[in-house]
């Protein structure tokens, strides 16, 4: 990795980034890079430090320690020139409820000093792109959750940012609304927009991200390419088996012979395999209920951050 800078330019570089709120250590010194043109996924349970990381990038939270460069410029010294090139879709909707859909976009563009005429053209274009062109005169309260999210996206894109930060972009939306947003995000990626995405929807991250970073309790627990990480850390296939204690015990022995990892749950067993194993297939068959599926990001996530709830 000694020639990284010649292969791609880095949009974000964080080294030992830390933040303490009083005694609570929200970030305990994390390192990561976001490369130009990629979608970088931040995964982690609630309270892992994802939003804090974003807020430090935006200057809304001051880091306690570490180095952060965005577009090669130091945060917080160069926040103004950094933020001109960053678009944000926040986790909590902060659209301007006093203004209509169209006025929201125009007003937001004015904060970036976009000329009014250019902003109007851009707003019309983005409302069409995000399927909101029939709502331009509506007030925010008249919009559905999905429409608000799309408007937040349109707002974030008004000034053609080079880096788009998406904090839980589809949280609380129905499947149709989520798919529409994913489609649009993919198309933005194809246009070369660098993205930083946080989510705890694994399917969302798997769909959109080139590389991911898994955080837990303020620390990075793993990072890399999602498919590679799943096969390296979880395996090939996962068996979810409902079994009695005796059945489970037997399966654990067979799994060990097949070099498969197991994990007990209250009503059964998870078996993570890295290659096919005929003995295991045979041993599982008598169990009342079982399922074989490819290993996925959710398995990785649970493996890295644990199955129990640990909100801080």
């Amino acid at each position: 990795m000694n020639s990284t800078n010649t292969q791609y330019s880095l949009i974000v570089e964080a080294r030992g980034l830390a933040k303490a709120f009083g005694v609570r250590q929200a970030l305990k010194g994390i390192d990561f890079d976001i490369r130009q043109g990629e979608c970088f996924g931040f995964l982690g349970p609630n309270g892992a430090g994802k939003t804090t990381t974003i807020q430090i990038i935006l200057g809304l939270v001051e880091k306690s320690a570490g180095e952060l460069l965005v577009f090669g410029q130091r945060v917080p010294d160069h926040l103004k020139s950094i933020k001109v090139q960053v678009g944000v879709v926040p986790q909590h909707d902060n659209l301007d409820t006093d203004l209509t859909v169209f006025e929201n976009l125009l007003t937001y563009a004015s904060y970036y000093q976009l000329p009014r005429h250019e902003a109007a053209v851009r707003a019309t274009e983005l409302l069409k792109f995000f399927a909101l062109d029939n709502r331009r005169r509506d007030y925010i309260r008249q919009l559905s959750g999905g429409q608000r999210r799309r408007l937040l996206l349109a707002r974030a894109m008004m000034h053609r940012p080079q880096l788009l930060i998406l904090d839980e972009p589809t949280v609380g939306l129905d499947p149709q609304a989520r798919h529409l947003i994913w489609q649009r995000l993919k198309s933005l990626r194809e246009q070369g927009v660098t993205m930083m995405l946080t989510s705890h929807y694994m399917d969302e991250v798997a769909r959109l991200s080139d590389r991911i970073l898994v955080m837990d309790q303020g620390q990075v627990v793993a990072q890399g390419e999602p498919k590679q990480m799943v096969s390296d850390l979880v395996g090939l296939d996962v068996f979810e088996v409902v079994c009695t204690d005796d059945e489970c015990l037997l399966l654990e022995v067979v799994a060990a012979d097949c070099h498969a990892r197991t994990e007990r749950t209250p009503d059964g067993l998870y078996i993570y395999t890295s290659k096919d194993c005929a003995e295991l297939d045979r041993a599982i068959r008598p169990c009342s209920q079982w399922l074989r599926r490819p290993a996925n990001l959710e398995d990785l996530f649970i493996q890295l951050t644990g199955r129990t709830l640990h909100e801080s």
């Binding site: 935006l58 809304l60 160069h78 926040l79 103004k80 020139s81 933020k83 301007d96 006093d98």
Partner: protein, 258 residues
Amino acid sequence: MSQATGITVLNVLRVVQRNARVWWKYKVPSLVGNLGQPLLFLVAFGFGLGQQIDTIAGLTYLQFIAPGLSASAVMYSAAFEATYGSYTRLSTQSTFEGILMTPITVEELALGEVLWGALKGLLSGLIMIVVMPFFGLWPSLWVICLPLLLFVAGILFAALGLIMTALATNYDFFNYFVSLIITPLFLFSGIFFAIENLPTPTQAVLRFVPLAPVVDLARMFCYGTMQPGWPVQVGTIVLLAAAASWLAAILLRRRLIK
């Protein structure tokens, strides 16, 4: 432009513009709300009570209270906008949060809010001046300088309001501000009676509170009765306005950036 600490005037104006855009939609109820009270006082006290009162410092009672009511209209409009208005944008509407995700800094946001409050105050004060002839009150030429004074007073009271907003945990907090600061200022700043009539120690205290010199100057500018020392009074208000704005920006940063 590249420094986080630098303040860009255009960014400050964008915040003002945002508020002006919203205000324009609700201009009629907003103006009625801001002007109803001072106009009613002018009628009730100026015409009503004024019949029973001799001249004060050579002015009829109506003449005496009109400039001060204009100053108090500025205070009320500016202070209310920067408390109830700004606090709504800070808390329930998350408007500030949205703005701070853009290149606009907390300091620019704070100054924008103060400037906006001052402009609303100025507008209320000006309308009071404009209606004076309808009450048979004719100002002197000095009145041309009055808007500038009212604007600076607007900055001062909007900044005081924004300081409260930066400290507030809920709307009830502003009861302190209104009951302990704004209402006493309204009653004891020499709008309704000449401060000179009071015992000397009381006078000294009242001269120190920020509305009294504004009322005094408004009366001078209205009738051209300039008294020695007026530039010092103007300077005091300008300094107070600048100091309050600076403190408001600092406190707002403390409130919004963790």
